[in-house]
């Protein structure tokens, strides 16, 4: 059943999906890739963002992406707060590895369960003008439901990349990841920089959550599907490389899409993880890693 048309469509769908995966993984690329904080709870924050979008959409009819943008400052503050607790409890004492991981895992659990207590486990969806429509470009159909999140994802990646390379704080974040002592000697406070960076990472979760619920329905346990994907992407792309995250996201998206179309979808998720495990064994620095 192999036709070029089918293949083209699968690849395009994969790229669109990849753009979305990039949005979701950006936060982790920042917090784990650059700050070395294993925020395994990131997908839970994404789901939190998704529910925020849902609530605003069903109560006030707000477009989900608008909600995502609006809630960014809130999530930033949340991220900053979480980092402070993490820093005070673990990083300062140098015990971050085991305890920090467990802390975030517990946080993930709490967010997920709190959401199901408050909103139940019915699948939640949003309505927006562009869901359900699609355009056709020379035989390749593109659904707006996927296109819009992909575009937003690309914009987010671009914005973060510019931030890290062009702004003072952005470069400070890069500095923190490379050499904390040198940074301190230069007068910048690494803790403050890291707080800002972590806050940005969680703020990204707000918007990516809105994108998530645009693409497909959401329940509180949806975060579990993304824990693996997000870390697979971050590792494959190479820690510390935002561009690498984007490339890895697209690779994953295309791989899942091709698997689903040509060989049957049963194995697509496992194949993605297979790629991760292989990458970890063969080239742990990832594609663009330092």
């Amino acid at each position: 059943m192999f036709t070029w048309d089918l293949l083209a469509n699968a690849v395009v769908a994969g790229i669109l999906l990849g753009g979305f995966y990039a949005a979701v993984s950006l936060g982790v690329s920042l917090t784990f890739g650059l700050l070395d904080v294993v925020n395994i709870a990131h997908p839970a924050f994404v789901i939190l963002g998704a529910y925020a979008a849902y609530v605003m959409n069903s109560s006030f009819g707000l477009d989900p992406i608008l909600t995502g943008v609006l809630f960014t400052p809130l999530f930033y503050a949340l991220g900053a707060g979480v980092y402070r607790i993490y820093y005070g409890s673990f990083e300062r004492r140098g015990e971050e590895s085991l305890r920090g991981l467990v802390f975030f895992f517990g946080l993930l659990f709490i967010i997920e369960v709190a959401l199901s207590l408050k909103y139940g486990v019915d699948y939640r969806l949003v309505e927006a003008a562009y869901i359900g429509k699609s355009i056709d470009l020379g035989g390749v159909g593109i659904a707006f439901r996927l296109l819009v999140p992909c575009v937003v994802g690309l914009l987010m990646t671009l914005a973060l990349s510019l931030f890290l390379s062009r702004t003072f704080y952005g470069r400070a974040v890069m500095g923190v990841s490379q050499d904390q002592v040198a940074l301190r000697l230069m007068g910048a406070n690494p803790v403050r920089i890291k707080t800002i960076a972590f806050g940005i990472g969680i703020a990204a979760a707000s918007l990516s959550g809105a994108l998530l619920i645009t693409i497909s329905p959401v329940v509180p346990s949806t975060d579990r599907d993304y824990i693996g994907r997000v870390f697979a992407i971050t590792v494959l792309g190479g820690l510390g490389s935002v561009g690498g995250t984007l490339v890895a996201s697209i690779i994953l998206g295309v791989a899942e899409s091709l698997m689903a179309t040509l060989f049957g979808p049963s194995w697509s998720l496992a194949v993605s993880f297979g790629i991760l495990l292989l990458a970890l064994a063969v080239r742990p620095a990832g594609l663009f890693g330092r």
Binding site: M1, T3, D5, L6, N9, A10, A13, G14, L17, S116, G120, V121, D122, Y123, R124, L125, E127, I131, G132, K133, S134, G141, A143, R145, L146, I215, S216, P217, V219, S221, D225, E256, S257, L258, A260, T261, L262, G264, P265, S266, S268, L269, A270
Partner: protein, 423 residues
């Protein structure tokens, strides 16, 4: 700082121990001997809780209805329910507690094939009579005589799920030739697709696509596209709520238009899904258990929905409740009628009574056949027609979800092909 933390740590330990003690104290409190106790585990959290909570509510409504009329055998009915968390591993513990500590007189199952399965050996060991709340083919391996299932799939549950869909398809003129089968990698869809494959042979269709997908799939466009590429006349989908939504949306987006679409999609029956998909549902032929059509208005059902919908609003569960709740109600309704009818609480006498009688319940007349399934299947096939917009009120009135099958409940005609219903 260190001392403070230590203190806090101890306070924590104390709190945990205290909670344990309090909770433990409650566990062994003796209960009054007068009421008739019915116990169950139900999915109040976890994957199936979206249906589990309404089901429990329906059972509670029955308890209240029965107690208003003086109870069973002159005694009030008490309900003891625990959360099985949609996790089969909790079932042995829960039901052992119900039977050994709470000393219930009867047990009812939880919701879902996975939650009923671990209950079977326990019931068989103690020779209990159990009412099953929507599970597929739980009794196939055991053939236990005192098991009764309220799901209307009838004998041969795997095939009967989709029989109506295939019959409707086969009836069309010209007869469709090719069929695509697609389903999730999970228990129910696997059963449904297995049944569908049998029916494909029976009705003489040709399978041009037969694949499954992992339930955590995000985007269904590649799947829909792959199906479109083979231009099937029939598309049969066996899916759970998120994939049902995904498939419907993806198919609408890429313009997948076979002559008939649907079959075994779970989720389209839920109010939140219906209101989100709205007009995208038009033309889909799917299985269902109840629809607000004139042919389905059985005695007592209007009153049930009035009460259910009132409670549902406060509890934040499915507001219409047109899927599982009436069946959960009728399961315990049958149990109650059997206890009254046989004038006995003896497990075997109640089982024999259920097996040999026909009951008039809020979902119509029910009679059980071999293996505890319904003697005659009543899995409906409905078609969504004329849905405009996403307002929930339109789903309360007849005409939007027309019953096509079986004959005795038919309330409208099928719009064929699928594309005609979408105009």
């Amino acid at each position: 700082m260190n001392g403070f933390r230590t203190l806090l740590g101890w306070a924590l330990v104390g709190a945990v121990a205290g909670t344990l003690a309090l909770a433990g104290a409650d566990v062994f409190v003796a209960r009054a001997a007068d009421p008739i106790k019915i116990g169950l585990g139900m999915a109040l959290t976890g994957g199936l809780s979206a249906n589990g909570k309404p089901a429990l509510m329906a059972i509670q409504i029955w308890k209240d209805d029965v107690n208003k009329k003086g109870g069973l055998l002159g005694r009030p009915v008490e309900l003891i329910a625990y959360d099985d968390q949609t996790n089969p591993a909790t079932v042995p513990g829960i039901y052992t507690k119900l039977l050994e500590v709470d000393k219930v007189d009867f047990v009812v199952s939880g919701y879902g094939t996975n939650l009923i399965a671990p209950l079977m050996p326990i019931a068989m060991e103690r020779k209990l009579t159990i009412m099953g709340i929507l599970g597929l083919a739980n009794n196939e391996k055991y053939k236990y005589p005192n098991y009764f299932q309220i799901q209307p799939s009838g004998p041969d549950p795997e095939a009967n799920w989709a029989t109506g869909f295939f019959e409707i398809a086969a009836r069309q003129n010209p007869k469709p030739q090719t069929i695509a089968l697609v389903g999730a990698d999970a228990e129910y869809p696997r059963h449904a697709i297995a049944g569908a494959r049998e029916l494909v042979k029976k009705f003489g269709f040709k399978t041009v696509y037969d694949k499954s997908y992992p339930p955590s799939t995000v985007d269904y466009t590649p799947i829909a596209r792959a199906i479109k590429a083979v231009s099937p006349d029939i598309v049969f989908v066996a899916s759970y709520p998120p994939d049902s939504v995904g498939m419907v949306r993806a198919s609408a987006e890429i313009g997948l238009q076979p002559k008939i679409f649907g079959g075994g999609m779970v989720g389209l029956q839920f109010t939140t899904v219906m209101t989100s998909l709205g007009p995208m549902l038009n033309g889909i032929v799917n299985y269902d258990f109840w629809a607000p059509e004139s042919t389905m208005m059985f005695p007592g059902i209007k009153e049930f929905f009035a009460e259910y919908q009132k409670r549902a609003k406060e509890a934040g569960v499915d507001p219409l409740g047109y899927y599982l709740p009436p069946y959960a109600y009728s399961a315990v309704q049958i149990l109650g009628l059997a206890i009254e009818g046989g004038k006995s609480l003896d497990q075997q006498k109640v089982a024999d009574y259920i097996r040999s009688n026909e009951f008039s319940t809020i979902v119509g007349k029910v009679r059980f056949g071999p293996n505890g399934e319904w003697a005659k299947s009543r899995v409906l096939q409905v078609q969504y027609q004329g849905i405009k917009g996403t307002d929930v009120e339109q789903f309360r009135v007849p005409g939007k979800k027309v019953v096509l099958y079986p004959e005795e409940f038919k309330s409208g005609t099928v719009i064929y092909p699928y594309s005609a219903a979408q105009k």
